[in-house]
Subunit: 420 residues, 2 copies
């Protein structure tokens, strides 16, 4: 039964990221974490991540070493059209082949430039050259094709380092091929997203649940500013895992229901969007300290134009009055960062844009602008509904970007809760 043994043995992957820019800290390697997440979801374990320079000998060493430890190696980077991109040269050296023009890859290159109304230069034509013997992975969002090699029972994949190109290739070309090539064990993940409760309080609440998890099941806490994700993972025989997961999910949902706002890849903007669409409602926003970030989050959701009317960003005192009609004396009396002003902002934008509901923010994102009564991190959030209006105050920290982000998401959370 060597087949079954193979099926149960965990598949080891290694990632090699190429580029001097990673080593001198000009670029943070976000690709590896993303790849690690995707692979672990299909039961492939990342054993090591290695970042190396653009030097051929160094890349080659890393690849040879990785292959002694792993069943597959994913290489990102070094596929641009310029001289400092040497991954293809390295792969040719490794396989003892040379570059061949791929008509298949050229179709993608050509259509990429056509779409942008540009000619394919000689330099870019060379993007369609690949080491002999590789399978071309079609890149529809860039000019460097992905490459798939089978070598002594192991797999080597080369992808561009540009994150959205790498992601396109992983999602459309690589993951499926890996699943069918390896007999990956069955792994199931389910993530519950909570807002408004800290990790340690949550952990106390779930202590009993966690201690009674059946064999093969795990619970992980993944905190980030403004939310805690609870990830249930299970591995084992598929039917059994599915039944067990459903039961655990139901129990966990019940335990955290006051804080739960979504599952898996949800985010607050898409959850809220679905809710508004179901109600047939529209929303408008009035942002001060968040400076457009709520609009940015909402409009990152495809199709949000169906439920989002628009916003005012009123960064100056004057603009609050000019764009939104917040009375100047109200600002004078209570300050721009106040319950009164944020309520006025929410009420006025809702009326002005004729939407069913609205949220508004006003706060001190910092680093400047804090006072003893309203220190950096103070944010007022207003929510207007057809039948009521309310405001809440947050006291966030002194990291400007985190304050802006958490305040923006909190505004959407408060509205979503209010629609329950």
């Amino acid at each position: 039964m060597s087949f079954k043994k193979k099926a149960l043995k965990s598949i080891r992957a290694e990632i090699i990221t190429i580029g001097d820019e990673l080593l001198i800290g000009q670029v943070i390697d976000t690709n590896s974490a993303w790849i690690g997440k995707q692979l672990s979801q299909v039961g492939i374990q990342v054993h090591q991540i290695t970042s190396v320079s653009d030097e051929i000998g160094h890349m080659l060493d890393a690849l040879v070493n990785a292959l002694t430890r792993a069943d597959m190696v994913l290489v990102t980077g070094g596929l641009g059209p310029t001289k400092d991109d040497k991954t293809k040269e390295m792969l040719c050296a490794f396989f003892g082949t040379s570059l061949e023009f791929s008509p298949e890859a050229y179709l993608d290159v050509e259509s990429y430039f056509k779409k942008r109304g540009r000619e394919v230069s000689d330099l870019n034509r060379r993007q369609a050259e690949v080491p002999g013997g590789c399978t071309v992975l079609s890149n529809k969002v860039g000019t460097a094709p992905g490459m798939w090699f089978e070598h002594q029972g192991k797999i080597i994949v080369s992808m561009p380092g540009v994150p959205h190109e790498m992601k396109f290739l992983m999602e459309n070309e690589v993951i499926g091929r890996l699943k069918s090539h390896f007999h990956t064990p069955f792994i199931l993940h389910r993530t519950l997203l909570t807002h408004g409760i800290g990790e340690s309080v949550l952990a106390e609440k779930l202590e009993e649940f966690e201690s009674k998890l059946p064999l093969g099941f795990q619970l992980a806490y993944l905190p980030s500013p403004g939310l805690v994700k609870l990830r249930l993972s299970a591995t084992g025989e598929e039917a059994q895992v599915r039944v067990g997961m459903e039961e655990l999910e139901t129990r966990l949902t019940e335990l955290v229901k006051d804080y739960l706002f979504g599952y898996d890849d949800d985010d607050i903007q898409s959850v809220l969007g679905r809710r508004l669409k179901a109600l047939g409602w529209t929303i408008s926003t009035a942002e001060s300290c968040t400076g457009g970030t709520i609009g940015h989050l909402i409009t990152s959701v495809p199709g949000s134009s169906a439920w989002y009317a628009g916003s005012t960003i009123t960064y100056s005192y004057e603009s609050k009055t000019r764009l939104l009609g917040v009375p100047a004396d109200l600002i004078q009396k209570h300050g721009a960062v106040s319950e009164e002003v944020v309520l006025s902002m929410a009420r006025n934008v809702r009326e002005k844009l004729g939407t069913h509901c609205a949220v508004a923010t006003s706060g001190v994102a910092g680093p400047g602008g804090g006072t003893p009564e309203k220190p950096v991190g103070t944010v007022w959030i207003g929510v207007a509904l057809p039948d009521r209006i309310f405001a809440r105050k947050l006291q966030l920290g002194d990291n400007r970007l985190i304050t802006i982000r958490v305040a923006s998401e909190s505004a959407l959370h408060f509205l979503r809760k209010a629609l329950d």
Copy 2:
């Protein structure tokens, strides 16, 4: 003259980051990039970054391998008080020593808990145990001491993986020691940021420049959506490198001056902000398809309230009329995604908010909403100045988020160019 030889040889470092959370993508490794930047600034070159699991054998392998290539190895992570933290055990195995209680390290542990009004638990007391023969590096912001080892002429440093603890140790304990231990060569980087020209066209333009780079100088192309960074790197004798770099920078600046918008860590929003501040000007924005992202970018700059008045986000047809007074029949006649409408938006928001200049966007971010005449990715950008107003059309791709981002940055780029 072996001394001089040593001084000119570049010192090689490797970084090993430890932790399963890095491999399954739960945590993005931001430490390595930060360390890489710090080291390259003192002339130490990071040769490789390796992320490994919490398993002792695996860490040990990585350390042994790194020492075959590098003069020093910086290890982060695996120093917490819990069972899954095994870096100290691994170091004991490597050096053939055992853990010893360090009164010096304990002082830091004790004072850490005292400050927080807590007792030192047994578990935490063990944080002060270090492998025999190491130099303790004082950690004032956490409970795990840093450790410094000298081994066969090479340096091994172990630090916690928590970013602010690692940074504290690097800045206060590690960098200074490294500089005095090694005769570090001098390394200089200079990055030129360009917009509005593709990597391959740029590469053709710079072919001669590149081929004539003096010994010790390198040029790298770092493309990302909407911009290409050009990084000049040089190593050698300091005075010589500085002179050479200045000369090359001047020549490169001249060659790309039509596209250059900044240097090093600049981004378009801060470059534009500095320019506006210098002029004493203010800006307003009117966003349709970018949905708040321009505001989000601008307000990510600390102090932007000095030059940013605010915005309207007019996602619906109606809101363009209600908030901005864009004539309904203009939208009817030309469509919301048109030169006429985007000009009207820019003109009106500038007047409404009384700013010196304004930018406006209207486009089809997709995935829906495209037509044969205005396919997904079509974006109109309007720029209003005191004495003139103009619009430009972009044809971007079909990735919604990238289109939003590139359109937002392009609006800021067009305005910046117009201020030249």
